[in-house]
Symmetry: C2
Subunit: 246 residues, 2 copies
């Protein structure tokens, strides 16, 4: 009975919700939940392990930052064969910029899990990026480099990293598309609605109508991002027709 | 016949020697030798691939640097549970310091493989560290993170990284040991001889005699390192007897 109770306990109540929520965010089952819990413990609680070592997310942040840098380096290396060492360094620093990491952590609403003595609204923006890095550290300890890479590809690279935008060649696909529609006298409309579905984090969906047809659909964690994603899809669909300024 | 000739060609002549030498250095068989070759091409040759992209070691250096940083971060995280984020950052920067990387590349004599238009003696010290990082980048591309980790553990961490020395608690085990011998009136002698064996790189061995007995043996790429290693072994063997100043 104890065994069954332990199994039930490990997946139910506060722990169970946390386990499920983390699984939802990272996209695979944690082997052990311990390090994920630690990834949300703020130093204000002054928690210690049995040996007296500090038990909060700051060391995980160090580890996660290192893994993120390595994985983004490998991604850029493969993705941009014509970029030299200086270019790769510059592009990586854009992807892992403080502003970008804060945005990622904020979109995943990681702050909902924080354990702290300080009121949540007293934290600045950096808390989002710090928790995001700590989460990567926890994934590395739990499942190793490959799963870290999977998480970063799915949560950072695919939804957010656009080489052309990072290079500043394309500032906004939405404005490119609108400009083209206006020039060519096409009617366009962005139909946006909430579509969170089973996700932990609020999501929005958008249908991009051009001349009465749905040309592209997209889903993201903000209206602006969903519109941008749909515009990018439409842009590539129309690519040969649109006169870009590149 | 062509197939057989190709197989023979791929392992013999200049290529074959290079293949064997790399295998010796990295400690496992390369799957493909291509990226290892690139890891030694200097920009002075102005080599390009078929798409006109630069073909030299500089991009691999960027990749190797990122992998090295991540692997050392994970090592320190596990090895020093009591170290906070600031400590881990400081210790990592000591391990991956330019001086240390140059020493590592130099000990492996990586410059022997360089392809360049510039006379080898025109290069400064940094060439050794750059080639070392490029080699790590090549290992990552050829065999992935796990093999990179294996190489770094065997070639960087085990032979060179000593947490106590990095922390400055112990400057030199040799001087600790000599001091102890002199205080305790023990006779000591470091017997050093060349012992390269099957290694690509020149090695030295040392026997540390105390009062007519061999107390510790060690082998390394320089006399100084071999003596230090043997002293460290003897130090730990005598640990309870030696009055350290820590």
């Amino acid at each position: 009975m104890n065994v069954i109770r332990n199994i039930l306990n490990s997946r139910s109540g506060k722990n169970g919700n946390f386990f499920d929520a983390i699984q939802n965010i990272i996209g695979f089952k944690p082997k052990s939940i311990t390090n994920y819990k630690r990834a949300f413990v703020h130093r204000s609680l002054n928690k210690k392990d049995s040996l007296g070592n500090d038990l909060n997310y700051e060391r995980l942040e160090f580890l996660g930052d290192a893994m993120l840098s390595a994985i983004i380096a490998a991604y850029l290396f493969n993705e941009v064969p014509e970029g030299d060492e200086g270019y790769l360094t510059k592009m990586r620093s854009k992807v892992v910029s403080r502003k970008h990491l804060n945005e990622l952590g904020n979109d995943l609403n990681l702050i909902q899990f924080i354990e702290t003595n300080i009121p949540k609204d007293h934290f600045g923006q950096n808390i989002h990026g710090n928790l995001f890095e700590a989460l990567i550290g926890a994934i590395y300890l739990d499942r190793g480099y490959k799963f870290c890479e999977k998480f970063i590809y799915e949560r950072v690279i695919h939804p957010y990293v656009d080489i052309e935008q990072l290079e500043g060649k394309v500032i906004s696909y939405k404005s490119l598309l609108i400009e083209w529609c206006q020039k060519q006298k096409h009617k366009f409309n962005y139909e946006v609605y909430e579509d969170t579905g089973k996700n932990e984090v609020k999501h929005f969906a958008v249908k991009l109508w051009i001349d009465g047809k749905v040309i592209a659909k997209a889903r993201a964690t903000s209206k602006k991002k969903a519109e941008e994603k749909a515009s990018k899809r439409a842009y590539y669909a129309f690519q040969n027709k649109i006169n870009t300024k590149q």
